[in-house]
């Protein structure tokens, strides 16, 4: 009985570890960030910018 309980605990711990590893890997790959990049700009609030069909009054362009 004790062996079965011990085995179940080991299996549960192993499954938990594997799940945490998989979840971490999924998060990291979906949030790519280069810590060596010199720029770490803040992300703008979506309320400050949104796509529109309105005719633009001007544009940003290289000059």
């Amino acid at each position: 009985m004790i062996n079965v309980r011990s085995l179940l605990l080991k299996v549960a711990a192993t499954a938990l570890s594997l799940a945490a590893t998989a979840a971490s890997a999924a998060y990291v790959t979906s949030h790519v960030k280069n810590p060596a990049a010199p720029l770490q700009p803040p992300v703008l609030a979506s309320t400050s910018i949104r796509p529109t069909d309105v005719q633009p009054v001007t544009s940003t362009y290289a000059s």
Binding site: P38, L39, D53, Q55, V57, T58, S59, T60, A62
Partner: protein, 240 residues
């Protein structure tokens, strides 16, 4: 809503809104004349020719120099206004409406550490290397002019723009409503002659061998957008 389009700083500028746009245009022309490197009598040229001596500078030039040091810091050195010797080496010796000069790229050197050559105190500055404010000036001026004009106004100085209030603006082929935001685009396609273009990689002193041709950025100010766009263009994907 009024609109005022005019030429200044070698590019097209647009002021849009209900503010005194004519006064805004006069402000741009007056300040541009003080910070141009193409006029030996300009305030910037006097600083450049001071051979490292401390000289009096206006409040506007002081703030642009401080913005230049900020740009150097946050870009990891990729945005460096001590770029004038390289500009001359690639043949960008005069306003481009007069054409490119003869390039001598073999004379180009890696740019110095800006913090070591540019000093700024209240009302005074010195530089050991000639500087060209370029897009830093345009971004700073767009932000500042919006403050001066007040109200709902959009200032676009050659693609470096700030939208005070909410305005529809085309960025990279898509139109966005920008509210109290800046935007800028950097590209190696413009101000180009053959293999030479005006975006200098400070690590070589030569035109950046950019893996990205054009970058558009929306940020909290036009100045920040200019810094981010230029850094990403020069530094490539590793800087993004």
């Amino acid at each position: 809503m009024r609109r005022n389009d005019f030429e200044a700083m070698g590019t097209t500028c647009s002021l849009i809104g209900d503010a005194d746009l004519d006064a805004g245009e006069r402000w741009v022309h007056a300040l541009a004349a003080r910070i141009t490197r193409f006029d030996e009598s300009s305030e910037l040229s006097r600083l450049n020719s001071s051979c490292g001596r401390w000289v009096d500078v206006s409040d506007e030039l002081e703030q642009m120099l401080r913005a230049s040091l900020h740009a150097y810091e946050v870009s990891g050195g990729l945005v460096n206004v001590a770029v004038l010797p390289s500009m001359l080496a690639i043949g960008y010796t005069r306003p481009l409406r007069q054409g490119w000069g003869s390039p001598s790229p073999e004379s180009a050197q890696p740019l110095p550490d800006l913090r070591a050559v540019l000093g700024v105190r209240q009302g005074r500055a010195r530089t050991l290397t000639p500087i060209d404010l370029g897009g830093i000036a345009k971004g700073w001026m767009a932000d500042r002019l919006c403050e001066i004009l007040g109200g709902q106004v959009l200032v676009n100085l050659g693609g470096d723009l700030f939208a005070r209030g909410e305005w529809p603006v085309e960025v990279g082929g898509t139109t966005y409503l920008l509210r109290n935001l800046g935007a800028a685009t950097s590209s190696t396609r413009k101000r180009r002659s053959g293999e030479m273009h005006h975006l200098i990689d400070p690590r070589t002193g030569l035109p950046a061998n950019a893996e990205i041709e054009e970058v558009s950025v929306v940020a909290s100010t036009a100045l920040e957008a200019e810094i981010l766009a230029k850094t990403m263009l020069i530094g490539g994907r590793a800087a993004a």
